[in-house]
Subunit: 348 residues, 2 copies
């Protein structure tokens, strides 16, 4: 179909001929390079130890992407949802967003002299570990309300970015965005490379997570689902602004709220769901289907040396995993490397 004359177009200069010759050489070398070399395929999950969990993931992804197999799932249906706290980044000693909340309380304290004598603000300002270790959920909501609402979305985003750019994890002395799990970064990238749409579905604040999801995980803002406040649209001096009210979007994005939000934000069930706690049970159930393949995964923290070890808040999920056949991933046994800042250390 292509006429040879097309490469004899008039006006071809000597320089062009030379550059064409270079292109031919380049084509030849590239072609030689791309020739299949058996067993030389790069491991997409190098920070995962070989074992049942890694193999289950690889087998699943191969199964749903093999267009000749009955297990094939078309790209638009390849939805993967990940919990955030304790699944994509650490959640101990406290949820990272709570450190932001405490920072904001300290920042705002000068405007609220009564906080010096009023709990739970007093405990935050005095760094009263005994009080904070027993803080109640209504008290946490009181702190969140005082620090996360009544401001514009733009202001809030700026505050989150300032915090994430400076505050450090108390144990690892790293930015919180560095305390993400290296094996999960690889898994996200592997899934995206296989045309999965990867979403975060977190009980944490949606606008909080969106300030770092792209840089830290390669997950775009619009793929972050979380607990959110209702905002109000206003024109301020001719400029559009959204004010964060104190009213939560219903439902909170935890437990039964996770499948509800997944349906609302995505419009499809995930075929892969990854969580770590009792709050993720319904999301993992939501992925289950008799009509197409699915993979429900539960991360278990059992590595006090490199990270943390705990079962609190995950007991029911671990029980359910046995019953439902969910794949349990163990930090100690399955993660060759835990955090990105450890990559390369082993080789030294």
């Amino acid at each position: 179909m292509l006429k040879r004359t097309s490469i004899k177009r008039p006006g071809t200069s000597a320089a062009k001929v030379i550059s064409r010759l270079w292109l031919i050489c380049l084509s030849l070398t590239l072609w030689a390079c791309t020739e299949k070399v058996p067993n030389a395929v790069a491991d997409p999950l190098p920070s995962w130890n070989e074992g049942a969990a890694k193999q289950t993931i690889l087998t699943f992804v191969e199964a749903v992407t093999d267009s000749a197999a009955t297990s094939y799932v078309p790209p638009q249906e390849r939805i993967a949802t990940f919990d955030n706290d304790g699944t994509l980044w650490a959640e101990k000693p406290l949820y990272f967003q709570f450190y932001f909340t405490m920072q904001r309380v300290r920042d705002l304290a000068p405007e609220h002299p009564d906080w010096k004598t009023r709990q739970p603000f007093k405990a935050v300002l005095e760094n009263d570990g005994d009080y904070l270790s027993l803080i109640t959920l209504p008290e946490i909501f009181q702190l969140i309300d005082a620090t996360h609402t009544g401001i514009t979305v733009t202001e809030f985003e700026k505050q989150v970015r300032a915090f994430l750019g400076s505050a450090r994890h108390p144990r690892f002395q790293r930015l919180f965005t560095e305390c993400v799990y290296q094996p999960m970064l690889e898994l996200i990238e592997y899934l995206q490379a296989n045309d999965f749409k990867v979403f975060i579905c977190s009980g944490g604040g949606m606008d909080f997570i969106r300030q770092f999801s792209e840089e830290a995980y390669g997950i775009p803002r619009e793929n972050v689902i979380g607990t959110a406040f209702i905002t109000e649209f206003r024109m301020v001096d001719g400029h559009p602004e959204l004010l964060r009210t104190g009213e939560f979007v219903k439902p909170l994005n935890d437990k039964e709220g996770k499948p509800v939000s997944i349906q609302r934000y995505i419009g499809r069930r995930p075929i892969l769901a990854f969580g770590n706690s009792d709050g993720d049970i319904q999301m993992l159930q939501f992925a289950e289907s008799s009509e197409r393949p699915y993979l429900s995964l539960l991360l278990h923290h059992n590595d006090p040396e490199r990270e943390f070890s705990y079962t609190g808040g995950t007991e029911k999920a671990l029980e359910m995993a046995k019953e439902a056949g969910w794949t349990v991933v163990y930090v100690k046994e399955d993660f060759k490397v835990v955090f990105p800042f450890e990559v390369g250390k082993q080789e030294q």
Copy 2:
């Protein structure tokens, strides 16, 4: 860096050599093909007449994608939001979703003998045009509640698909999904090809639009924002189900609700917003920014011959367009072709 020996690997058979020669020929032809041919770039918007609207769009897209220009906008921020009814598909004589609602009333009537004598159901069952032309908003919500809620998401989706696969537009006698605007299909594709993320932001039902957005517009389900009902998660016989309750997600996705939802679902302001009615004013305002380029567009229906002509419900938006300098797109003057089923007719 590459050694020539890499193409002299032992075990190279005659067949391999021949296939390599073929590859060389292919490389050469491909390279010859990709040489730049001036003025041969295809028009990305062939169904748009040449004019101010088309030129404004082309200039805007070139400006935000030119990485050497100060007007450059990185891909993750290239968010475009489109209203649906009257912007992507027609909305006359009635909103298309209202035909679905009436169909569902007729389907469900045998289970509700009282509807025969109860308004507004009676008017739907008797096809009482006089009554329906004056139907009130509370009555519409009554019909929606009776037909859109109290069922599972799965059932609802099935009903929508059945309707869209069979019901026809009263004037054009085409499936409703064929009554989409050809120029808008081209614009969506053009934006996506330029790494825009294209979203629908509609006052209509989110789950309704999601049943055809991929096939009709090439817009994935998760990029559809609309008015939605709160659902409830339940395990039914060991299977996860979501039940559509009668409670709306706050706010309804119209007027001030549109920017609120855009922030909630996307987490970023659009740099291009396209609407057609007073319900889109706030979305178009939300795109405005002094910090980066933006384009706010308003479609005006002034073509009774090929489509419809009306100003009802768009008066304020047309007024605002003048004040704010929004680009008004006129169906009559700017659309060379209106519907996909007309494509090619002109040439016959």
